[in-house]
């Protein structure tokens, strides 16, 4: 079952008097439960594609259908609802809210869903358990290491049990040990909860963990490779 369907997608940005084409005729399908990554050099359009899939941006031409919803046709409110309920985001710089504790950061997406305090607490503690940070629940982000911050970000993206997690360069700021740990955590969540993960990366370490690698160059898909699973 396709969770993402992209058809003839073009994204252009105004530059001076003309336009810069960031994505050019992208066609792509991502199935439910995939652990896939978009790779490519800087400026190849990875983040732009991820942003469109995450309904943070809209295509100039073509269509992106995410969880049966056409991104171009969503209102601001509908897009916000899609992100809040079904899509989790993980950023390169973690984007944790500095004045909130780990618990509150993870709880944040649930506050927008009007869940009761007990439901929120249960879900947050479970998410922190998935990433092994239960003991840091009361800490503030500035008291955590980079790896721990990224694990909080994973917990935050997973707490609402989304169908899709979009991770933009999640290991770019981490050392190899932390990167490995983070990727193992995400892989485990993918396997156990069936959540679809889509990465944008140019990190070799990430690529080794991916089941599918989509290569972008100058805004075009140049290679789409599915790895065979070795037991």
């Amino acid at each position: 079952m396709a969770i993402i369907e992209i058809k003839d997608l073009v994204k252009k940005f105004p530059v001076g008097n003309g336009f810069f084409t960031a994505l050019n005729q992208i066609n792509l399908t991502i199935e439910k439960g995939e652990f896939a990554g978009i790779i490519g050099p800087s400026g190849s359009g990875k983040t732009t594609l991820l942003n469109i899939i995450g309904s943070l941006d809209t295509p100039t031409e073509g269509n992106a259908i995410v969880l049966d919803k056409s991104i171009s046709e969503l209102s601001h409110k509908q897009a916000a609802q899609l992100r809040n309920k079904h899509i989790g985001f993980i950023f390169q710089t973690y984007n944790l809210l500095p004045i909130y504790t780990v618990f509150e950061n993870v709880e944040f997406p649930l506050l927008l869903q009007s869940l009761s305090a007990s439901e929120r607490k249960k879900a947050v503690l479970q998410a922190l358990e998935w990433v092994g940070l239960t003991d840091k629940a009361k800490s503030k982000p500035n008291m955590l290491s980079g790896g721990e911050c990224q694990r909080v970000a994973i917990a935050r993206s997973m707490v609402k049990q989304p169908q899709l997690v979009l991770a933009d360069e999640p290991t770019a700021n981490l050392d190899s040990k932390n990167s490995h740990h983070i990727l193992e955590t995400m892989k485990k969540l993918n396997r156990e909860l069936g959540v679809t993960f889509l990465f944008s990366t140019h990190d070799e370490k990430v690529m080794q963990h991916l089941d599918r690698i989509i290569s972008l160059e100058d805004g075009k898909v140049v290679k789409d490779e599915i790895k065979t699973v070795t037991l």
Binding site: T48, A80, R83, N84, F91, I99, P109, L112
Partner: protein, 389 residues
């Protein structure tokens, strides 16, 4: 509710920056309440004093009398009707006869208004009973201001010259029976109070009066041949002065409020610029732009709530203390020409506190909303990168 919860959390989390803004805003709030309280206290005291010493619950004037036109005094007198007389006997009204005169204190010439009033009246606070105490029959009471201006003391005899009903000049010596202290200058400056019957004899105006002053128990209504003037009419000038004083005070506290609001505006602009990533994150996590604008607006507006709490923390003890000791106005101010005590006891009404609070909250919210509107035009992808200039 969520916006309020998040806004307060962000605000407290911002630390010193928040407390600086809150402190300045609380100064504006406390100053506004202080000044309004002082003016309201003055207003209450001034109105009460003016009613107690001069105008009673209202006055009935002879048709031609105009308190601002001294030329009307000569002819502004008429016999008291039976209806009015009945009310005087019941103690509901007290008659006052007014005449112009000249006194010669220590060889100088000074114009005065002679007011004839019943020594037994109880409607006004004037110590008219003192008019009964003199040995030789012709006595007057005057206020401290009049005593200072004319250098008169209790027991002094002063030559008074006046015109009677027919325009004939006459003169005699009057003894100062007592000097009273009063906060209403128009009761005191240039005025001499003598017995009504004495003045009637002096001016050949038997059973006549210029005005009738109504007491607390009077049934205020039309009285034949007399024009009724309500206390509101009689206090109109005082009200106008209070209004202008209030406006002056509003300018002062308004200036301080503007400074505080500018600080909040500045903080909001900086905050929105500095917290672009946070804004992008909120949107990525599923907030609508409207909700984010709401958080930032409430956050700015919440400065005013904290300012009210902080202001209350030091303002309430300050105001309670001022309420017990009063605010000294200095002797010079009591000669301003309108009723003002040497000490004013401020009055803080719930309505005044509420309106000051609402004014501060609304203005803080408006200045917070203005920069927060920019968020609704932000592209979340640019905000996440912190790219906006």
């Amino acid at each position: 509710m969520l916006a309020l919860q998040l806004a307060f959390k962000n605000l407290i989390g911002a630390g010193l920056r928040t407390w600086l803004n809150v402190t300045v805003l609380s100064f504006a709030f406390v100053l506004m309440v202080f000044y309004n309280g002082m003016i309201d206290g003055w207003n209450r005291q001034g109105r009460n004093d003016t009613q107690a010493w001069e105008i009673g619950q209202g006055q009935y004037w002879e048709h031609t009398y105009d308190r601002y036109d001294p030329y009307t005094i000569q002819d502004a007198h008429q016999p008291i009707s039976d209806e009015a007389n009945d009310m005087i006997i019941k103690g509901e009204l007290t008659p006052v006869l007014i005449s112009q005169a000249t006194i010669y204190p220590q060889g100088r010439v000074q114009s005065v208004i002679l007011k004839g009033i019943d020594p037994n009246q109880t409607i006004l606070e004037l110590p008219t009973a003192d008019l009964r105490n003199t040995q030789n029959g012709y006595s007057a009471i005057i206020g401290e201001r009049m005593a200072n201006d004319s250098k008169l003391k209790v027991g002094d005899n002063i030559l008074v010259r006046w015109r009677d009903k027919n325009g004939m000049f006459d003169a005699m010596e009057i003894q100062i029976a007592s000097i009273f202290k009063c906060d209403v200058p128009s009761v005191d400056k240039g005025q001499m109070y003598i017995s009504l019957e004495v003045l009637r004899k002096m001016t050949n105006m038997q059973n006549e009066a210029t005005m009738l002053i109504a007491g607390k128990n009077s049934e205020l209504g039309p009285v034949e041949d007399w024009d009724f003037k309500t206390s509101d009419f009689l206090l109109a000038e005082f009200d106008a002065i209070i209004k202008s004083k209030k406006a002056g005070g509003m300018i002062m506290s308004g200036l301080l409020l503007v400074i505080a609001l500018l600080a909040i505006f500045d903080t909001q602009v900086l905050s929105i610029f500095r917290r672009q990533k946070e804004i992008g994150t909120y949107i990525a996590l599923g907030m609508t732009r409207g909700q984010v604008v709401g958080i930032f607006t409430v956050e700015g507006g919440a400065h005013s709530i904290l300012a009210a709490i902080l202001g209350a923390a030091y303002g309430i003890p300050l105001f309670l203390w001022l309420n017990s000791v009063g605010i000294p106005m200095g002797k010079e101010n009591t000669d301003m020409g309108i009723a003002i005590s040497e000490i004013i006891y401020p009055y803080y009404s719930f309505g005044m506190l509420l309106s000051s609070f609402i004014l501060v909250v609304i203005s803080a919210t408006i200045v917070s909303y203005m920069p927060a509107r920019k968020i609704s035009k932000m592209k979340p992808t640019d905000a996440l990168k912190g790219k906006l200039q």
